[in-house]
Symmetry: C2
Subunit: 338 residues, 2 copies
């Protein structure tokens, strides 16, 4: 009962001139190169993922199953001159996967063409129907949740990095996606913030089902318990995830909730305490196992001082997932749960 | 941007034999007699609200604007032989208001008949489109929120009783409905648990907008912060309500979350502390102003001992809203916020 996407992918970039608007495609190409058959660009594109250039027909020939809309245009709009590529993809037998604001189904004729070709138009903003109310019942296996001081502080990146580090060490682990880009990277998941509030913890339960005792679900977080708009999403995701462990994610230097004036970020110890107070409802043994800081705005010296300070304050491994990697956090998890 | 219902009402009871399945209609007749034009029953009905018997045409003649589906059948189903009454109502120019599981629109021909008659089919389970993300911005006026140890512990009843007591004293107050029955009683509101989780605190902000400094919104609560399925709803409602004050609601003798084995209820002091810890995000001055206990299962002596014990433990007025009334809580609010 998750959103499911068929790999391999043809990543569609249109003629988007700005690399910064292609973060979704870049994330997929970076984290799941084995899922990427090629890229499709229109004249004028300023983005290059380094993948083979393919038409939809060539991609289908090479085994691709889905065309992924990999760019976020202004306001999530679909430029008109990109639409013929979608029809080409459908005619070539590819599903189309998008999370744009205007629905794929609003493009005249596309749904009919998809029906004729026997392919699907997948809007990854739409959770599946029939999600249950959360039960709180204990599930087997282990769960690690990312918890943020705010939105956009590196929760998805940290979860992907931890899951990769675990798998690289031969551990039994899966990344579990709760947002659009994460779902495209993982190939499945649930857009947790689009779930009706009555079912948000139930959706999180569906996302990380019973598993073997040695298995880790590494769950992408959403929002922040200190966010006046999104804390309900964060709490429901946490209750349903019943995490054994969590990693605090933060961007160095950020002091206020982004775009919400008057709402200061918690300190990291405050966030750890507040997460435990709320998280113990569904897992009495919940504990923090590390801190992940985006220090991209800092010099190497300032980064080292920042991470050392947080480690001293919390007694936990503190990393920048890009600059230092997340190995110390995985070391600590292995030690703690052996 | 709320669900809006036009009064006066014709309360439709079908041939429901069980009084206990007509709680919605009974609540409307009890709390809003001035909104009730009459009742419509079919042969075999076992429910009597003491209202004038009327056909839809007679009710329309008497000024009624809406037929309210006032019974909860097994599984929320609509018995077939009740459906002709709905067509009669539409033909008489009444809106139809329901919260049943099968949609009014699924009844063949009813939507067309409503269009022809220029009336609305209102499903109060459906929140309006376009609800915003919560901002957390401080609003003028005062807000009082009901907070429960569990679901179905008397939050709606307590809120209605407090709002009525305030209005009876000449205070400036409104009951704000967050669930189906509450919306039918108030004539407007938002079904907060049906709102997408990203917008749940925003919906609560819409429900209790800026008001005069002396005005109290008395807000129906939902769920419980200690409920493994619904705590996200509760938290989002609280953050958006930014309550100045809250009343804890509880049913005497209940020790476990109803139908969720393994989840004990918090003590009342625990719930007060946890509510303040989470509620201060959007109102740093949040405080508990009373405790409302459903003691219907207790003898008079046991009730007195129960309420006295809770008052001693919390230092707050403790009432049974039915047996003792809520005046001590309103007294305390008046004292505290004068």
């Amino acid at each position: 009962m998750q959103v499911e996407i068929k790999a391999p992918y043809l990543l569609f970039l249109g003629d988007e001139p700005e690399q910064s608007h292609a973060k979704t495609a870049m994330g997929i190409a970076y984290w799941r190169p084995e899922s990427c058959a090629g890229q499709l660009r229109l004249p004028g594109s300023g983005v290059d993922l380094g993948l083979p250039e393919m038409t939809p027909a060539e991609a289908a020939q090479a085994g691709a199953r889905s065309l992924i809309w990999g760019v976020a245009g202004v306001g999530g709009k679909m430029p008109r001159h990109w639409i013929p590529s979608l029809f080409e993809a459908v005619d070539a037998g590819l599903d189309i996967v998008a999370g744009t604001h205007s629905s794929l189904r609003s493009i005249p004729g596309l749904a009919d063409a998809a029906d004729r070709a026997g392919v699907s138009l997948i809007d990854i903003r739409n959770p599946p129907a029939g999600l249950p109310v959360g039960t709180g019942a204990k599930r087997s296996g282990r769960r690690l949740l990312m918890v943020g001081t705010d939105c956009v502080v590196g929760k998805k990146y940290t979860a992907l990095a931890v899951a990769k580090e675990m798998v690289d060490r031969g551990m039994n682990a899966d990344f579990r996606a709760t947002g659009q880009t994460g779902i495209m990277i993982a190939g499945s998941g649930l857009p947790i913030d689009a779930v009706v509030s009555d079912f948000v913890s139930g959706a999180a339960e569906v996302l990380s089902p019973d598993n073997t005792d040695d298995h880790w679900d590494v769950i992408e977080g959403q929002g922040s318990l200190f966010h006046p708009g999104y804390a309900a999403v964060t709490l429901g995701l946490m209750h349903g995830s019943q995490p054994d462990a969590f990693v605090v994610c933060h961007q160095a230097g950020r002091t206020m909730i982004d775009a919400f004036p008057g709402f200061p970020l918690p300190t990291i110890p405050e966030l750890i305490e507040h997460t435990i107070i709320n998280g113990r409802l569904t897992n009495a043994a919940i504990r923090c196992v590390g801190v992940s800081i985006n220090t991209s705005g800092l010099s190497a010296d300032a980064r080292a001082a920042c991470l050392a300070g947080i480690s001293a304050e919390t007694g936990l491994p503190s990393v920048d997932p890009v600059a230092t990697g997340v190995a110390p956090i995985v070391d600590h998890i292995v030690d703690t749960f052996k």
